[in-house]
Every structure is written in structure tokens, then in C-alpha cells.
Assembly symmetry: C2
């Protein structure tokens, strides 16, 4: 049994993309886990981890071992629970790291812009002033509302969808990033789409996109685990 | 012994990014090869291949087997000559394909714009009218000169350099894309930089960029094979 500290939103919305990577990895491994939901500003509840970010896992079957950072968690799970591999082989691990570099630097920025104000609306009410202040300061003073509206203009939206072109191309002839079966590389990219899906009704991808078909396959995994999460269907 | 049909430019400049993928793969495998240089418009010289694009290889040690398309050539070499693996394992092959999807859709467009008129100047004089007509028609009528000048504006250049962010991030803590040693994924991205280096004095990357340091490592491979190619040092 593992305890996962996940980011808490209002009314059961759980949208953290990094926590989604870990949730999918745990389901992939078939490991039982319970979730502890922690709001943006409830840092005291994860002070035990010596840092301030989720996801964090505590492994009760391995001396209450604590691991934070989604990549470190994936590596820990792969080493400690080798069945149902997340990476497969050394090349698969490098593939996941490359996909992570691409998602973190390219895909996340696009999605963040498109759902920014909706994220605010789906945070716990007590967390919203912190969310607004920290994000608006990061954006050089633009309001969440203005920033999100701008990202939904046809031109900006087209730029985001075009940033998915590597994945679109890669999906030709194979259902998942590493080939026939899902791997941690898929969970990394999928986390970005769950970030949007669990916080915003705005369709960041459209039905005629090959990336949409891949997302459907991901939503179907583990008996529709991610599809059942509180969010918006599109 | 293999014969490689490579794209011919003026005065020994050989800039085709797809042919560079194959040249690096052949050196990686330690396979002896001779080059036959073919200009853009000398399609009759490769008519034997049943299509119009280089690279093409003819393998004299395997019944004059002909293979075209850089990816198909890499797979052929990996199967026929398993020593010095290009992919390493199944995950490594998926990594190379993902990197190829990223390079083909994101990196190539940026580099193409920046060196477009220089490419024209480094084509064989007889090929230049074809090059200009086909590329300008693809660009909706803009001249090569105007298009290249626009791509070298600070803002467009910054957008190109920012498109390399996944690679920059990925290079943290490892010298090559798959880890400690070069693999076909590196050769794919490197081909894009050789396209620029062998056709244009314009520095598409700068010395303080981690991608520059990786390119230096690639230029050093195989006794400086790619560094010796006719081009521009920056």
C-alpha cells in the first residue's frame, strides 16, 4: 500500500499534471494506493517531506519510504516493483526523459495559458488568492482572465495545436508512444491533458486530431480510471 | 562496401539533412562507403531507385540491395549489420522515431527558414532555378531572400532557438540523447545542424547554448568526420 499526496481542487477536482503522471504510474504497476488531497497553501501537511511540492508517495510496504518529484517516483516504482515495466529498457527510459523535456518546455506552457483562469476557479476558494498572486506575478502582471482570453484567440490556439505536431506525426502507425503498449512516456504527456480536462470545459484538442484518439485510449486504460476523474468530457 | 547517393551542392558542399543522417549512421556502423553526388535536378541518375529522393544506398555485399529513405536505411543497416547498434533496444528505436517526429515537424522548419537563400547559393548553379521556383511556390510566393531575412530578425530567431528547449533540457546531465553514447536519435538532430553548417555561415546556434556543446561532441565523432565536411565553422 502506498499513500499518494495529490493536489486538491474544489469539489474533488484533481488537476495537477505531475500528480497525474504518478497516479497513472501507480495504476500501470497495479499498486494499491490511497490519496491524501492537499491544497495549494496547505504546505504544513507535506512539511514532513522536507520540500513543498506534490506528488509525494509514502510506501508502507518498504519502511515508510518517502519519495517526492514525479520522475524520482517513477524511477523508484520501476526499481522497487519491476513487474509491469514503465520504461521497458534503457532506451525506453531515455524516450520517457526526452518526452518529459518536450512536454515540460513545450506542451505545458500552451495548456497552462489556455486553462489558466479555469484553474483558478477550480482551486479551493481558500487557495485562490495565492494562486492568482503567484501566477500573475510570474506572468509579469497580466490578469489570469486576460491571459486565458488571449490564449483562446484563434492564432494562439493554432500555435498550441501546432506544438503537438511531433506527437501527431509519431502516432502514425502505432497506438502509444513507445509502440504497442502504454509506457511512462504516455503518462507524462497524458498528465498535461488531464490538467486541462479536470479543470476546464474548454476543448484543448478536437475530435479529428490523432492526438485526441490517443487521449481516448489513455482515458480507457485501467477500467477508465482517468475518465472517471472529476472533469469535463470533450 | 556501400554506395551512398548524396545530394550535390556547389564546390563540394553537401548539405542534405537526410543524407547526413545516413552518413552518420554508416560511420557509426563502421561501414565503408563511397559517395555519388547527385544534383537537385539530376533525377535521371537515381531513376534506378524507382523514386526521386536521396539518400539511397546500394549494398554491394548483399546482392546490390537498394534502400531509399533515411529511416528505412537506418533500419536496414541495424538489421543487416547489428554490430555498433544505432538504436540499442526497442525503446531506443521508439526514442529515435519520436526525436525524428520532433525534428521533422519543429526543428527543420526553423532551420530551413534561416538558411533558405544560402541553400540556394550553395546549390549547383544549374539547380538554382529549380530550387528557387519549387521553394518559393511552397512559400506562397515570398522570395527566398525576403523569407531568409525575416527568419533572421531577432524575434523569429528567438522563436527558433526556443524550439530547441526540449533538447536543451534533455542535455542536462547526459552527453547524448540516449545517454552516455551517441545513437541514431543524435544523428537525426545533428543532420539538421549540418544542413545549416554546410550551406550557410550564419550561426544558427551560439556558443553558450548546451545544444552547441552537444553539436561539438557530434562534430568530434569518427575522427571529426562531420567537422571535415565543407562548411562554415561557428
Amino acid at each position: 500500500m502506498i499513500t499518494l499526496y495529490d493536489l486538491d481542487g474544489r469539489d474533488g477536482h484533481r488537476f495537477s499534471p505531475f500528480c497525474w503522471r504518478t497516479k497513472m504510474a501507480l495504476k500501470h504497476k497495479g499498486i494499491l494506493f490511497e490519496e491524501v488531497a492537499v491544497g495549494f497553501t496547505q504546505k504544513d501537511r507535506i512539511a514532513f517531506s522536507g520540500q513543498t511540492l506534490v506528488p509525494i508517495i509514502v510506501d508502507h510496504d518498504n519502511g515508510q519510504r518517502r519519495v517526492n518529484d514525479s520522475w524520482a517516483i517513477a524511477e523508484y516504482l520501476e526499481t522497487q516493483y519491476p513487474a509491469n515495466p514503465l520504461f521497458g529498457d534503457a532506451g525506453g527510459r531515455a524516450l520517457a526523459r526526452f518526452v518529459q523535456s518536450w512536454v515540460d518546455t513545450s506542451v505545458h506552457m500552451g495548456i497552462f495559458r489556455i486553462v489558466l483562469h479555469d484553474l483558478h476557479e477550480h482551486a479551493q476558494p481558500a487557495d485562490r488568492p495565492y494562486f492568482r498572486q503567484s501566477r500573475e506575478s510570474r506572468l509579469g502582471g497580466a490578469t489570469l482572465e486576460a491571459f486565458q482570453a488571449d490564449a483562446r484567440e484563434a492564432k494562439t490556439l493554432a500555435a498550441f495545436r501546432s506544438s503537438l505536431e511531433p506527437m501527431r506525426r509519431h502516432m502514425k502507425g502505432q497506438p502509444f508512444i513507445a509502440g504497442a503498449a502504454p509506457s511512462y512516456a504516455d503518462h507524462i504527456l497524458f498528465g498535461a491533458f488531464q490538467w486541462a480536462r479536470c479543470s476546464s470545459p474548454f476543448p484543448v484538442i478536437l475530435k479529428d486530431d490523432p492526438v485526441y484518439a490517443w487521449r481516448e485510449r489513455m482515458l480507457d486504460l485501467f477500467d477508465g480510471f482517468a475518465r472517471k476523474a472529476k472533469g469535463y468530457d470533450y
